[in-house]
């Protein structure tokens, strides 16, 4: 599978509010915990050897399960398979919680669901579709469900 590696590496150099040295363990049997600079940029998690410019790898944070493993450790599992489970050891419970929070919110699909939720709620409360002012109400990516169009509702019960 081809991918635009240089451009992805360039993305890994973008500023990020979430970058820290964490203990990271890969998914394979026999993988051990190693100190890595882990950096969250948009919906990618890059990991570097400390002080290296180019990341060792990039994890796409879509369709993954982020879970707390113990007080300072979280995991990211892909494909519902234990064999694709990465472990991250943090320095504190607070740091661990923050990372879980950020990774979940970074997912494009998570943002899309939020968008649909807010769109629905705002429409319910005001009778107006908030995406109309931007002229994007018809875009498939923002549909509530299967292209159902939002209709005006009686909100007098509020």
């Amino acid at each position: 599978m081809r991918f635009n590696e240089k451009e992805l590496v360039s993305l890994s150099r973008q500023p990020s509010e979430k970058a820290a040295e964490l203990g990271m363990r890969g998914p394979k049997k026999g993988d051990v915990v190693k100190k890595r600079l882990v950096k969250l940029v948009v919906n990618f998690l890059f990991y570097f050897r400390t002080d290296e410019e180019e990341p060792i790898g990039a994890l796409l944070l879509e369709q993954c399960r982020v879970e707390k493993e113990d007080s300072q450790t979280f995991s990211i599992a892909f494909l519902d398979e234990a064999e694709k489970k990465y472990l991250f050891e943090c320095d504190s419970e607070e740091q661990c919680g923050e990372w879980i929070d950020c990774i979940i919110k970074a997912s494009y699909e998570f943002m899309r669901k939020n968008l649909i939720f807010y769109r629905t709620e705002i429409h319910r409360l005001t009778g107006k579709d908030p995406l109309e002012q931007y002229g994007i109400s018809d875009e498939t990516r923002f549909q509530v469900s299967n292209g159902l169009q939002l209709m005006t509702r009686d909100t007098s019960s509020l």
């Binding site: 991918f3 992805l8 969250l40 879509e62 369709q63 879970e67 943002m111 409360l125 498939t140």
Partner: protein
């Protein structure tokens, strides 16, 4: 740099929403001829393979840091994805007709992560302002199904008593939006109005990535990873600019006729 093909492939083939799909001609990376490929756009990823039913992905293009431009080409209905940094490449495409070209350009322009992020922040603010107006209307948690049991140290118990959950997200949200008496989550819950406001802002029960609630009262804007904007202005302006650019471009096309004429190096909008 490692980029796990299985994970990427899984995302392409799973049933998450597809933003756009169709055939495009792609200029080869080694051979310079244009090859017809099937493209699937999901979020900020553009996947491509030979045919829609192929199991193997030929490739993926991560759409971050690039601009979408019309480009000079012997092919009609051409456009390109351009990374402006030295050493980074340009992908050239040709659509089958003008409608497809316009549609793909529009989709690719808004495919990047920041666009959606700003849009969500904008709507979130509108929602919170609205809820402030409807004083009796408690802010609702955006809850997803399958609340798991409490983890040590996490107050998920309070979450489950104060909000109602939906048995199945998409169907019920859609249903609730249109019918008066459906899901308790989307109609004002009379019972929980007082307790809702006492909820800790830091709820984060153990949950899978694609079934997460947003906290309410939501964490301050700065908690969203990476960016901290004056969201309304940012997205509003972004969209205005986008709209103007597209209008100019379309007018240009129409004058020159069918988009066949070369428009060199014209930036639509720089998301990079």
């Amino acid at each position: 740099m490692k980029f796990d093909e299985k994970i990427v492939s899984y995302f392409e083939s799973c049933n998450s929403p597809v933003d756009k799909k169709g055939y495009l001609f792609k200029k080869g990376e080694i051979k310079t001829s244009y090859q017809k490929r099937w493209f699937v756009l999901k979020g900020n990823l553009l996947f491509y393979k030979d045919r829609p039913d192929d199991r193997d992905l030929t490739g993926v293009i991560v759409l971050e840091g690039c601009t979408v431009q019309l480009c000079e080409s012997e092919e009609q209905f051409a456009f390109s994805l351009v990374w402006n940094e030295p050493g980074l490449r340009t992908y050239k495409f040709a659509a089958e007709d003008q409608a497809s070209q316009e549609s793909w350009i529009k989709a690719l322009l808004s495919a990047n992560h920041s666009y959606l992020y700003l849009l969500v922040m904008d709507l979130e603010k509108k929602y919170r302002d609205l809820v402030g107006e409807f004083a009796s209307e408690p802010t609702k948690a955006f809850t997803m199904p399958n609340l798991s049991s409490a983890q040590p140290g996490l107050p998920s118990a309070s979450l489950s008593t104060q909000t109602s959950t939906l048995p199945a997200y998409s169907a019920t949200v859609a249903g609730a939006a249109f019918s008066p008496s459906s899901s308790p989550m989307l109609t004002p819950p009379n019972v929980s109005s007082k307790s809702a406001s006492k909820r800790s802002p830091k709820l984060w029960p153990k949950r899978s990535a694609n079934v997460m609630p947003i906290n309410t009262p939501s964490p301050p804007l700065g908690d969203w990873s990476g960016l901290c904007f004056s969201t309304k202005d940012e997205f509003g302006k972004l969209h205005e600019d986008f709209g103007k650019e597209v209008k100019v471009l379309i007018a240009d096309w129409l004058r020159k006729g069918q988009g066949g004429a070369a428009v060199q190096g014209e930036d639509l909008i720089d998301f990079g």
